[in-house]
């Protein structure tokens, strides 16, 4: 059965810190890995990664995929209180439409 595991489950840091969130996956015929940010209800799309070693970047957020070791990381630099949210990682298999999600990492940024 396909599985996605995120760590840590919860993280509390101070504003200005840099954080790294981890996502490992076991997916038959892996195709892509996605990161979402969930603040209240609707997960909002951050990144889609399909190739190893190519960093995706958007402002203070960046992410990279390692298809050999089957994991991805999401980095957030110079964190702000508005970054507080649950960050979800999801994997998708080749030819499949459904996303398999991890439990999420609850990130809290204290001022």
């Amino acid at each position: 059965e396909d599985k996605v595991v995120q760590s840590p489950l919860s993280l509390v840091v101070h504003e200005g810190d840099t954080v790294t969130l981890n996502c490992s996956y076991e997916v038959t015929n892996f195709r892509s890995l996605l990161w979402y940010k969930q603040e209240k209800k609707a997960p909002t799309f951050l990144f889609m990664l399909t190739s190893s070693g190519i960093e995706k970047k958007s402002g203070r957020l960046s992410s990279i995929l390692d298809k050999k070791e089957l994991f991805s990381i999401l980095n957030i630099t110079a964190t702000q209180t508005g970054d507080s949210a649950v960050y979800l990682c999801a994997a998708r298999a080749q030819g499949a439409q459904k996303l398999v999600f991890g439990q999420g990492t609850r990130l809290t940024i204290n001022p």
């Binding site: 209800k41 609707a42 889609m48 080749q94 459904k98 996303l99």
Partner: protein, 115 residues
């Protein structure tokens, strides 16, 4: 343009009752998905529509759950004889197509509480 919308935002019902949850996808999106998210967990896939047809319903937990998308746009998730364990946030997502790089965009969800 408008995102995915879902109604109602909250639904409280009694055990054994029937409920319908509605999803309006982004205009022009041909693919539509339903997920269920329990407290402290990530979303779990329920069903996927391509156009009017359910292309993958492997995530529906049992035959009390059913979903339709009769005109290839709005979808309704129907739950019969609700149980307390059905309490969760039901999320709908849509994507432009079903290609490998088509991103799923989520709605705000319906929080279902079964008393």
């Amino acid at each position: 343009g408008a995102g995915v919308s879902q109604t109602p935002s909250n639904k409280v019902t009694e055990k054994g009752k029937y409920v319908e949850l509605r999803c309006d996808p982004i205009s022009g999106h041909t693919a539509l998905y339903w997920y269920r998210q329990s407290l402290g967990q990530g979303p779990e896939f329920l069903i996927y529509f391509q156009g009017t047809g359910a292309a993958d319903d492997s995530g529906l937990p049992n035959d009390r759950f059913f979903a339709v998308r009769p005109e290839g746009s709005v979808s309704t998730l129907k739950i019969q004889r609700t149980e307390r364990g059905d309490s969760a946030v039901y999320l709908c997502a849509s994507s432009l197509g079903s290609g490998a790089t088509d991103t799923q965009y989520f709605g705000p969800g319906t929080r279902l509480t079964v008393l």
